[in-house]
């Protein structure tokens, strides 16, 4: 391949969209747009002649490298392009709060995490990891959330009581302001010196 075709191949590979001949021109402003277009066709012919697994397509006025359709079935079957979706940190943190505080309302989740929670709660609900388990007695009777059987299933746990207790965690989830020295202890401490 010519150096110009190499450069075009690298650029088309790295781009997240089809690139027009003008955009490709920015790669090598010393060459003309026509020269760039010619190199694009050279790359296209090379892919076809050498029987590559990819081909060059002209899409919406630009050029793009795509996999050849003949391989699509095998790639889809192997599910190579899809990853098992993992939960985002925000989803995990919200799930953590719900798991340990259920039944819990949106306001409490937001207070603990310090950010708005409505979007994440809805996503978790759509994915059947949490569900509405009741309404609070408080003002406006807000919805209360709890975890679902699917949540336990994904964790491989028979029951919610199998979650490590809060006091087994590095820092307990319970409202934990460090206990200050009480008056009695403080007094004893001074006495010891006397």
């Amino acid at each position: 391949m010519t150096p110009l075709a190499q450069l075009i191949e690298a650029a088309l590979f790295a781009a997240d969209r089809p690139l027009t001949a003008e955009e490709l021109h920015a790669l090598e402003p010393d060459r003309s747009v026509d020269e760039m277009r010619e190199a694009v066709f050279q790359l296209r012919d090379h892919y076809a002649f050498d029987q590559h697994g990819v081909e060059l397509q002209e899409l919406g006025g630009g050029y793009q490298i795509v996999t050849r359709a003949v391989h699509a079935a095998a790639i889809e079957r192997a599910q190579i392009t899809a990853r098992a979706p993992r939960l985002t940190p925000a989803m995990l943190e919200t799930l953590a709060v719900v798991a340990y505080r259920q039944p819990v309302g949106r306001a409490e989740v937001e207070e603990i995490r310090g950010v708005s929670a409505s979007g994440v709660l809805r996503t978790l609900q759509e994915r059947s990891l949490i569900e509405v388990v009741g309404r609070s007695e408080g003002l406006g009777r807000p919805l209360l959330y709890g975890t679902t059987p699917l949540f336990l299933e994904l964790l491989g746990m028979p029951d919610i009581v199998n979650l490590p207790r809060a006091d087994e965690l590095a820092i307990a989830l319970a409202p934990a302001t460090p206990e200050p020295l009480d008056d009695h202890e403080a007094a004893a401490y001074v006495d010891a010196d006397a």
Binding site: A10, A84, L92, R113, T177, P180, A186, V190
Partner: protein, 253 residues
């Protein structure tokens, strides 16, 4: 160790000088060990034989202009250095065998940290090299297929619990216990002793069965009286008792 005082070198980048002394841009340092290594390099001294007194002074000066978010880490190191300085300044008995250099732990940590920095540099170079290779930019839309099962494991969930908990801001309450120091009483006691003697021993001004409060009160009273020139404090030789003497220019009343 050598305690020969040299004039302080003019700090070079990333230090900057202004009228109020020199200011360190702490953003340039990734932590107290980094700052310490920088000072040692500036001084061109061997890590294994750190002139603690001088380095401790420079460190304290450097953190003077510290932003508060990292203050605790730097102050903790500063207190270690000051403690080491004190340990190094304490006189040693001639007959003392097998004296352990109090700097050993700091030296070990500095070497370990220097190695970490070297690895970090290597990693940074590797990442820089690799950043010249671009991966595929365009990703084809996912095929229409039933969504894969979610993955969730207990470790991820517990990590999230820890993140949530560490994010909660607890009000921290400190209770300060006031211990009454009787500096005035101690002052009177010391002056009373010096009425009778031109000089006396530290133990004589404490009284019998002194409590820790008495000792502290007496110490502060002594320092204050010495500062005002009413008495002088003297230690004739290492390990000998302190001699408290009335200022000879002031006659006993």
């Amino acid at each position: 160790m050598t305690l020969v005082e040299r004039p302080l070198p003019i700090p070079s980048s990333p230090m900057a000088i202004d009228s109020s002394g020199f200011v360190v841009e702490l953003e340039s340092f990734s932590g107290p060990l980094d700052l310490l290594l920088h000072l040692l390099r500036e001084e061109q001294v061997d890590i294994a034989d750190i002139p603690i007194a001088r380095i401790a002074d420079q460190f304290l000066r450097a953190i003077h202009s510290l932003g508060l978010n990292q203050a605790a880490d730097y102050l903790e190191m500063a207190s270690r250095l000051v403690r080491l300085k004190v340990q190094m300044l304490l006189p040693r008995r001639e007959d003392e065998e097998g004296w352990d250099d109090p700097r050993a732990e700091l030296v070990r940590r500095l070497l370990e940290y220097q190695q970490t920095k070297e690895i970090a540099l290597w990693l940074g170079n590797a990442a820089e090299q690799q950043s010249h290779h671009h991966a595929r930019g365009y990703l084809p839309p996912l095929p229409e297929a039933p969504p894969l099962p979610l993955t969730l494991d207990l470790i991820d969930l517990l990590a999230a619990v820890e993140r949530v908990v560490t994010g909660i801001i607890h009000p921290v309450l400190h209770r300060v216990v006031v211990r009454p120091l009787d500096v005035e009483g101690a002052t009177e006691r010391i002056l009373a002793v010096l009425e009778l003697h031109d000089a006396c021993d530290w133990r004589e001004v404490l009284g019998s069965n002194p409590t820790i409060v008495d000792i502290l009160s007496s110490l502060i009273a002594l320092l204050e009286l010495a500062r005002r020139g009413i008495l002088s404090l003297n230690q004739p030789s290492p390990f000998s008792p302190l001699v408290i003497s009335r200022d000879p220019t002031r006659p006993a009343n």
